[in-house]
Symmetry: none
Subunit: 412 residues, 2 copies
C-alpha cells in the first residue's frame, strides 16, 4: 500500500505521577527512553486528555475517543465490544452481555463464578447453548478465554437497562435479571429472555458430557452461564468510512480488540504477545510493520505498563517503558519517510493509585511535515510547552488525518 501511513502506539497506562521511590520522578522520567526522546526531539509534543481534563478513563472509552469517536455516545457498556472482540456478529440494536461459565448447585447457589477456572471444552459447551430461540429473540453465545464468554440477543423490543443475573459472589443465589426501571417494557422483555436463557443453559449444561467428565475427575462442572453488563450495540460509522484509511489493530487485550473489530479494523495477531510484563513487545513491533504493508493505519496497544501500574510496581513500569523504547527505536529505523508515528498512553495508571486516573498523558506526533517544536524529552512534564499544547483524545485523528491529507475540508 502506497502513500502516507501511520502507527498509533498506545502504551496502556504508561503515564503516571511523581513516585517517591523514583526520586519524585515519574516512571517515564526515570526510564532510559532515548528513542522516545528522539521522537520528541524530531516531533511535535504536548499533553492529551483522553476524555477531558481530570476524567478517569477506561481503556475502552479512551481508545474510542483517541480513534475519534465520542465515547459518551459510542460507548454503551462492555458487552457489545467484548462480543465483537471474540468474533461474534454484533448488529446495531442487539443486546450484548459479558458472561461467565459458572458452577451452581441444585438450589441455584453459586459454588464458583469461574467454574473451577475451566480452560478446556468451553467451545463445545458454548455450541450446546448457541442459537437458542426464546420467544421471538435469537440468542447467540460464544466462548472467550478461560471461563468467559459473551451472549448476544437479537429481536424486536429489547432494552439494555437490566440488572445482572450474575450475583458477583460465590455463596449467593443466581439473581433474576430485572428491568432497572419497573415500567421499562423493553428492559422487562430482555430480563425475561435472559432469565430463560440462564435456566435453559443450566438444563443443557448440567447434562453435557464435558461436565459429566469433569465431575468424574472431581472438577467443578461449568453448568450454568451467568450474564452481566448488558449493553445495546451502538451504531458506529466504521473507521474506514470515517477516515478513508484501511486500519489494522495489533493489540493485547480482548477489550481493545473488540473495539477495533467493532470499527471494522483488521486484527493482526503478534506471536508471543501475552498482554503481560513478559510480552514479546519486539514481536508486536514487527507485527505492526507487517500490518503496515497492506494497511495505512495501524493501532498498537501494549499492555504491560498498565499491569505494572495496577501492581504499584515502579521498577517493573520503568523496565516495561525501556522495553517499549527499544520497539520505538526499531520502528523509527524501519519505517519509510512517509510514515507517521504517534506515541501516547490511553490513560495514566499511577503507581500511587494502582488504578486508572484522570491525569493528562504525553503525546508526540512524528513524521513528515510536522511543526517540530523545542521539546527534546518525552515524559509527562517535559512535553509541557510543546506545539500540541493540551488536546482532548478526540482531536488525535483529526490532527493525524490533517497531516496525512485524507481529511475533507469543512466549508469552502
Amino acid at each position: 500500500m502506497e502513500g502516507l501511513k501511520a502507527i498509533l502506539l498506545i502504551c496502556d497506562g504508561m503515564a503516571d505521577r511523581p513516585v517517591p521511590r523514583l526520586g519524585a520522578r515519574t516512571p517515564l522520567e526515570a526510564a532510559n527512553n532515548i528513542n522516545m526522546n528522539t521522537l520528541a526531539l524530531q516531533g511535535e509534543c504536548g499533553l492529551m486528555d483522553p476524555i477531558a481534563p481530570g476524567v478517569r478513563a477506561g481503556s475502552d472509552t479512551s481508545h474510542l475517543a483517541i480513534l475519534g469517536y465520542d465515547p459518551y455516545t459510542a460507548y454503551t457498556g462492555r458487552g457489545p465490544f467484548e462480543a465483537a472482540g471474540i468474533g461474534m456478529d454484533v448488529r446495531k440494536g442487539d443486546i450484548a452481555f459479558r458472561c461467565n461459565f459458572s458452577t451452581v448447585d441444585g438450589n441455584m447457589l453459586v459454588i464458583d463464578r469461574r467454574a473451577g477456572r475451566i480452560e478446556q471444552g468451553t467451545d463445545q459447551l458454548a455450541a450446546a447453548v448457541n442459537g437458542m430461540q426464546i420467544e421471538d429473540v435469537a440468542c447467540y453465545f460464544k466462548e472467550s478465554v478461560a471461563h468467559r464468554g459473551a451472549l448476544v440477543l437479537r429481536g424486536p423490543g429489547l432494552g439494555a437497562c437490566v440488572t445482572d443475573a450474575d450475583p458477583h459472589e460465590a455463596g449467593a443465589k443466581v439473581h433474576e435479571a430485572k428491568p432497572i426501571d419497573p415500567n421499562d417494557q423493553a428492559g422487562a422483555k430482555t430480563a425475561g429472555i435472559v432469565n430463560e436463557f440462564v435456566r435453559r443453559s443450566y438444563a443443557i449444561l448440567k447434562e453435557h458430557p464435558i461436565n459429566k467428565a469433569r465431575e468424574a475427575e472431581r472438577r467443578l462442572p461449568a453448568n450454568i452461564i451467568l450474564p452481566r453488563g448488558a449493553g445495546v450495540a451502538p451504531h458506529i460509522e466504521s473507521f474506514e468510512e470515517r477516515y478513508r484509511l484501511k486500519g489494522a489493530a495489533v493489540v493485547e487485550t480482548g477489550l481493545i480488540a473488540g473495539i477495533a473489530v467493532y470499527l471494522g479494523m483488521d486484527i493482526v495477531e503478534a506471536p508471543g504477545a501475552t498482554g503481560g510484563l513478559d510480552s514479546d513487545v519486539m514481536s508486536i513491533g514487527r507485527t505492526v510493520l507487517k500490518a503496515l504493508e497492506d494497511h495505512n493505519f495501524v493501532l498498537c496497544n501494549i499492555k504491560g505498563c498498565d499491569i505494572a501500574g495496577h501492581d504499584g510496581d515502579p521498577d517493573a513500569k520503568v523496565k516495561m517503558i525501556e522495553r517499549i523504547d527499544d520497539v520505538v527505536g526499531m520502528l523509527m529505523r524501519e519505517v519509510d519517510r512517509c510514515t507517521y508515528i504517534i506515541l501516547t498512553a490511553d490513560h495514566a495508571t499511577p503507581i500511587s493509585v494502582k488504578d486508572h486516573s484522570g491525569d493528562s498523558v504525553p503525546i508526540v506526533f512524528w513524521g513528515p511535515d510536522v511543526r517540530v517544536d523545542s521539546i527534546q524529552v518525552y515524559d509527562e512534564r517535559s512535553v509541557v510547552g510543546g506545539g500540541i499544547v493540551r488536546i482532548p483524545g478526540t482531536a488525535v485523528m483529526n490532527i493525524l488525518t490533517n497531516l496525512m491529507s485524507t481529511q475533507e475540508k469543512f466549508g469552502a
Copy 2:
C-alpha cells in the same frame, strides 16, 4: 472527617490586566504574595477560563462552572439562586424573581426604587404579603438585605419568559409584566400572576403600620414590591450526589451563598466577614479550617478584590491580595498532609474595566501527589508554562476528584 479533603479558595475578581500605575504589572504581579508563590512552587499551575476563553462571567455562572455544573443549562437567571440564598424553599419548576421594596404614588409612578433605602421592618412587610394564593398559584415572598427580597411562584403551567414589573428607573410607571413571546401561554399566566401580586402588594403595604409610621417620620413608605429577573428553578444534582463529597461554603455574598445552598452545601458564617475591603479575611480562613473538620470540601469566596476592581483602585486591590496572601500562608501551615488547596479567581475584574472581564485567571492545585511543575510565581503571566496549561472552569472538580480518588471510572 477523615481522608483527603480540599479547600477551593476563589478570590472574587482577583485577576487583572497590566495597570500603568503599577508599572504595567497586574495587581497580582505587583503584590507581595509570597505564600501564593510558595503554593505555585509546590503545586501545579496554569490558566483557567471560568466559562470559556474570552467569555465574561458573572460570579454566579463562574461559580457554577467551577463547581462542575454547565452554566448554560444550570443557570436560569439569578432569581432561583437569590431566593435559595435567603433560605426560601425553591423547588424544580418554581418561577423565582429578585424584588425590590419600592415607593410609588397613587398613579403607580415610581418615586424611589429602593423605598428610601429602607433598612428596618421589611421582615414584617414581607410577612404581610407572603403566602398569597392567586388562582392556582402559591406566592412566597421573603425579604433579603435592605430593600431587597425574592418572590417564588409555585403552581401548574407557569413559564419564566416574562418582562419585569420593575421599570428600573424612578419617575416611570410600574410596568405590566408581559410574556416575552405573545403566544407563550405559560409566560402569559406568570405575567398575570405577577401583575396581580404587585397590585395586591400595593393594596396591603400602603396600609401597613410600618409604612404609616415611616410616613409619619417623613420617610418614604415601602408600599409596593417590584419583581424582576424571572428564572425557572433548574433541577441540579446536588454537590454531594455528584461528587460524594460533603461540602461547605464560607462565602461573602448572598448570590454565591444561594448557589451553594441550591447545590445542597452547608453555609458556614465567618464572624467579621463583611464582603467589603474591611472584611476580616483571617476570620474567614479560620472558619474554613473549622468547616473542614466535618466536611471534606470547603468552597471559600473572598469578595474584596472584586470591589477594588469595580472601584478601579489598584492600591486597594494589591492590599487586598496581600491580606489574602496571609490567609493562604495560614491555611498552608494549618492543614494536614491530606488536604488540597486550589487557589483561583472566578473572573478578572480589571482596574481598567471596572467590571468583570473575560480574561483567563491563574489557578494552582496544591496537595498530595500533584505533578509539581516548574512554575514558582503565582500571577496571571507567571503560571503560563505550568502543567495545567489552560483549562475551562468545568474541569476543576474533575481534576480535584481525580486527585482525591473519589471519581468513578468511565468505562473499563
